[in-house]
């Protein structure tokens, strides 16, 4: 236990320099601004010089680099960054857009787990069979498919032809517990809202998760086979355990690498969201980022990159800790 604690302390300590590094990259993005951002923000060529001057002062655009860095980080960490274009608090915006992305990611994750893991186990059990080959090819197809293309193909089938999905609106229940409607409606046992959300989200979620399904199936298959050829399995066979019980042992051991990959994939799904959100018209983080780019709102862009980086970092931290807790053999 002491060892685990030492690991946690060390892991948390490396978290801090990484976070500082993240702020540097975020600042670099903010610093590669186009020639005259204040003029763009004030409305282009016709902007009055006073407004431009005021914006330059307000956002420290002509100050030395360290001052700019201090200004941006102070505003980001105290959640007081105001967008020069929309005049709204960026952090507040992020908080309203993030639940949509999170819901989307959760649905995608659901598909990956529910389809990917059983598929991987089946492929391992029927090793070198037709099914195994199909899973292998499916995985390759999954990572080769442009998700924006897949999205349109599936919209054509499920929306234009079959009408199985709703493509407008984002249901928001009148109550608020976690702020994520998908989870809230489940907690409140409000199945009507839940069904509405699912009807809106299942296809985007599937599209987002598509590439991951095959990848996870492959990893589950390989780690299942690794565990199956391990000494403890042979021992279990020698003891004459039933097949089912052997598989249970194998599965538990095979899941360890799978958990790590799933954890890392969660962050990757968050990142893949911009494309899916654009196609399905979901007002999530990715959409917010792209809007910010369109409006030359570089501070909102910077803010969202920082936000995503922060979430990704925390997700990886949790994965590492989980890994150390699940697998008692792992020590760093």
């Amino acid at each position: 236990m002491a060892e685990l604690r030492r690991f946690l302390v060390r892991r948390l300590l490396t978290f801090i320099p990484t976070l500082v590094g993240v702020t540097f990259i975020v600042f670099v993005i903010a610093a590669i601004l186009p020639a005259d951002p204040a003029r763009v923000w004030a409305g282009g060529e016709k902007a009055s010089p006073e407004v431009v001057q005021r914006l330059i002062e307000e956002y420290h655009l002509n100050d030395p680099i360290p001052v700019q860095y201090y200004f941006i980080m102070k505003k980001l960490f105290t959640n007081t960054m105001v967008s020069p274009v929309t005049h709204r608090y960026i952090w507040q915006d992020l908080m309203t857009f993030f639940p949509v992305t999170l819901q989307l990611t959760l649905v995608a994750f659901f598909f990956i787990i529910v389809i990917g893991i059983p598929l991987g186990i089946l492929a391992a059990l029927k090793r070198d069979s037709l099914l195994d080959t199909i899973v292998r090819i499916f995985a390759l197809i999954g990572v080769s498919t442009p998700i924006f293309w897949l999205a349109y193909l599936l919209i054509y089938v499920f929306y234009v032809k079959l009408h199985w999905i709703v493509l407008a609106g984002t249901p928001t229940p009148p109550y608020k517990i976690t702020g994520v409607p998908l989870i809230d409606s489940l907690l409140k046992l409000d199945f009507q809202t839940f069904a509405q959300i699912i009807k809106r989200y299942w296809l985007p979620g599937f599209v987002l998760g598509f590439a991951g399904i095959g990848v996870v199936a492959r990893i589950v298959r390989n780690s299942f086979l690794d565990a199956y050829s391990a000494d403890f399995t042979e021992f279990a066979m020698a003891r004459g355990l039933t097949k089912l019980r052997i598989y249970r042992h194998v599965l538990r051991n095979a899941m360890i690498p799978v958990v790590t990959v799933l954890g890392l994939m969660f962050g990757g799904l968050l990142a893949g969201a911009p494309i899916t959100e654009t196609i399905f018209g979901l007002p999530g983080l990715g959409k917010y980022m792209l809007n910010a780019i369109r409006l030359f709102d570089y501070l909102a862009l910077t803010g969202s990159v920082f936000f995503v980086g922060l979430i990704y970092l925390v997700a990886n931290l949790i994965v590492d800790i989980l890994y150390a807790v699940i697998d008692p053999r792992v020590r760093y």
Binding site: T14, P17, T18, G21, V22, F24, I25, I29, I32, L33, P34, A35, R136, I137, L140, I141, V143, S144, T145, P146, I147, F148, W149, Y152, L153, I155, Y156, V160, G267, G268, L270, A271, G272, P274, I275, T278, I279, M289, L290, I293, R294, Y298, L301, T302, V305, V308, G309, Y312, L313, N316
Partner: protein, 385 residues
């Protein structure tokens, strides 16, 4: 190893001929190379033999070769230029479905340098009345050039940093890996989006100051001189993908270098006073190149996919540049009626990326020494039995 025991098919003879030709070339440049590397050449032939036994690998190789050939000759093969609006000749060309026949005649054809006559738009036309087939052919060039530019630099930053970190260890290792961690702290696509959004103005200024560099890239992308503006945003994507594509390699190569440097041959080289640079590039790198090669192949497809995704989001390729992702983005406004502007470019991306993934996946097996030994073993058994 006697070669006669293998049942050589036509494909094997072809791959052997390619390897032999390469060996003779190397022998001409550096006399004695062939003799010194006899075992290596045999091993390569065995790899090709194993590769030729894998149908997915062959399908992938065919896909890759056709993509590269089309990307090189495509712009010359295309019936029209990527930005030619056929609506000048026939108003029906706007959003024309596949198979539409248009007639090109009159003075305008002369001015625009198009041969008069009847043309069948095999894949249809987009909302500007531009021939989709021509745009797809030019788009292959865009994809290939971007992928080559990214892969020629991005991963190698990571490989070199990984070699240095793994070989020296200690503080240098710690520093490099912390920097790598910072870049890995962002999901790749998000960072790529951010950088390709903010970089274009800077690159534009650079290109204006360096006309020769600009002209070089214009030729490379097969663009008309008047489209130098959109070039900046294409190159912004390249730079953005450099930034995103190195950290994974740094981590991978560092790990492999760590275990490789413990080998006796590294110690021997060090004892002989071989310079470190030489040890890293000539001794360690060739020995860890196998897995790297697999990742490079897979990532070549990955870059094409990511670039198309960025273009789809409105970053990267700007009209009128032909880019597969951008064609889908422009076509999506007319979905589902104009299905051809989405189906065909998507298919092009899919088949290209699939090609690289199939080959990469097969290479993983082929480069695994176990696979090759098992082939030798099988042959031996066959001969004895």
């Amino acid at each position: 190893m006697s070669e006669e025991v293998y049942e050589k098919k036509l494909l094997d003879k072809f791959s052997d001929a390619v390897i032999d030709a390469f060996a003779s070339l190397a022998d001409k440049i550096r006399p004695g190379w062939k003799k010194r590397n006899k075992s290596r050449i045999d091993e390569w032939k065995l790899m090709a033999y194993a590769f030729n036994r894998s149908p997915p690998g062959i399908i992938g190789a065919v896909l890759i070769v056709s993509f590269i050939v089309l990307a090189i000759v495509g712009p010359y093969l295309a019936p029209f230029s990527y930005d030619l609006q056929l609506t000048f000749f026939d108003p029906d060309a706007k959003r024309a479905p596949p198979g539409t026949v248009i007639e090109i005649k009159g003075k305008l054809a002369e001015v625009l340098g198009v041969k008069p006559g009847n043309y069948t738009l095999i894949l249809g036309a987009d909302d500007q009345g531009r021939d989709l087939l021509s745009r797809l052919l030019y788009g292959a060039r865009t994809s290939l050039v971007i992928a080559i530019l990214v892969m020629a630099v991005g991963p190698w930053i990571g490989i070199i940093l990984g070699l240095i970190a793994g070989y020296y260890g200690g503080k240098i290792d710690e520093l490099i890996m912390r920097i790598t961690d910072v870049f890995l702290a962002f999901p790749g696509l998000i960072l790529a989006i951010a950088f390709s959004a903010v970089l274009p103005p800077r690159i534009s200024v650079f290109l204006d100051n360096h006309p020769d560099v600009r002209d070089f890239f214009l030729t490379l992308f097969a663009l008309k001189p008047q489209h130098a503006g959109p070039l900046a945003s294409l190159l912004a994507v390249v730079v953005a993908l450099w930034i995103v594509w190195w950290p994974g390699y740094a981590r991978l190569v560092r790990g492999m270098t760590l275990s490789e440097r413990e080998n006796i041959y590294v110690e021997a080289a060090r004892a002989l006073g071989v310079p470190t640079r030489w040890i890293l590039l000539r001794h360690i790198l060739p020995n860890i190149l196998g897995p790297i090669l697999v990742y490079l192949t897979l990532d070549f497809g990955g870059v094409i996919l990511t670039e198309a995704g960025l273009s789809f989001l409105g970053l990267g390729a700007v009209p009128p540049i032909a880019d597969w992702g951008r064609i889908i983005y422009d076509g999506s406004n007319y979905f589902p009626k104009d299905w051809w502007t989405i189906l065909y470019p998507g298919l092009a991306i899919f088949l290209t990326v699939l090609g690289f993934n199939l080959v990469g996946d097969t290479l993983r097996d082929v480069l695994d020494p176990k696979t090759r030994r098992s082939i030798e073993f099988k042959v031996k058994k066959k001969r004895e039995g």
